[in-house]
């Protein structure tokens, strides 16, 4: 009897040979990735319909005029407030990735500290968004409503007929509140999930488990929320 195994008897060890994840990623994490991919489709469909409507419009409210107020500070500071919001969200993404990094070292106290800062960042962002919505609402924008035409025309930097201004003003208002609202809802869920995970960290759940992988998974979600904001920021405020 020969002791050397023939080639066909050898157990295959390639990533796709079975018996383990070909992606070398834990199940929950890969499912988070696929959830985020589906969420990316949802946000894309919203942003693509926004783009198609806006680029086919005869006139669209000018971002530099609509978003020129910094609540309580200045009535004429175009884009500064949204700049602050963007900075807050990028900053909270950094604290989140620092929490993940601390988790790899098993440094529980550091994880808690960075998670708390991430939560604070998320709450600050939500606060800013509430102010932004309140401001636009006080000017007369809301789902299905725009300011009266003599006020509405001040939000355009081109001339157009009242009908065109009202029609596309409505499109703008609906899309703005729907898209930033849907994003804000994601931020809100993210904050809630981050709080739950922080409580688990404090309770020592992941210490016992020997891995802070859950922090990584919520981290993925949180970065995705930041990623969506990067696109919302570009297409609503810059373009």
């Amino acid at each position: 009897m020969s002791t050397s195994a023939t080639q066909i008897d050898e157990v295959k060890t390639t990533p796709w040979a079975g018996g383990r994840s070909p992606f070398s990623v834990e199940y929950g994490k890969i499912m988070m990735w696929f959830f985020l991919l589906s969420d990316a489709f949802t946000f894309s469909s919203l942003l693509i319909s926004y783009g198609a409507l806006r680029f086919s419009s005869a006139a669209w409210p000018a971002p530099g005029i609509v978003f020129k107020a910094f609540p309580y500070v200045s009535e004429n500071a175009p884009l500064v407030f949204v700049g602050l919001m963007t900075f807050i969200l990028i900053m909270s993404s950094v604290t989140m990735v620092l929490a993940v990094e601390a988790g790899h070292r098993g440094a529980k106290k550091e994880v808690v500290r960075w998670m708390l800062l991430t939560i604070v960042g998320g709450l600050m962002f939500l606060g800013c968004q509430a102010l932004e919505w309140t401001h636009l609402h006080s000017e007369g924008f809301w789902w299905g409503s725009v300011p009266k035409i003599d006020e509405l025309k001040n939000f355009y930097d081109v001339t157009a007929t009242p009908l065109v201004m009202t029609t596309y003003g409505h499109q703008f208002a609906n899309l703005f509140f729907t898209i930033t609202g849907f994003h804000g809802f994601h931020v809100f869920s993210g904050v809630v999930i981050n709080i739950i995970i922080t409580i688990n960290v404090l309770a020592g759940t992941y210490e016992k488990r020997g891995s802070y992988l859950m922090v990584e998974k919520v981290g993925l979600y949180w970065h995705f929320v930041d990623l969506v904001w990067v696109f919302v920021f570009t297409f609503f405020y810059l373009v």
Binding site: A40, A52, V94, V97, L213, G219, L227
Partner: protein, 117 residues
Amino acid sequence: MSETAHTEHTEHAGEHEGMTKKRIWNVFWVLTAITSVEFIIALYLVPHEVFGMTYHAANPIYIVLTLAKAFFIVGYFMHLKFEKTGLIFAIVVPVLFIIGLILVLTNESHHWIDLRM
């Protein structure tokens, strides 16, 4: 059981060599810098038409800069750059279809505007 935990741990360690504190802060500075450039374009270059920068010329620049930011967030913060090639493709390839849809509809919306005029 302990053997399984050990294997997971080793895989885990290898998987995360990518991100150190220093690297995290580097990515932060890159993101901040890109955002600052976008602000300079929107608040200074376009209003004053510096370098002949018009509204229409600025838009493609914003989009390129946004995609660059997306690359840094997904690649480094979400760690995708350091994952297995299979996972990278599983996530990135479907997104290419979104980009295709954007290109198609942007082109189409320019046609719609002609129909409406």
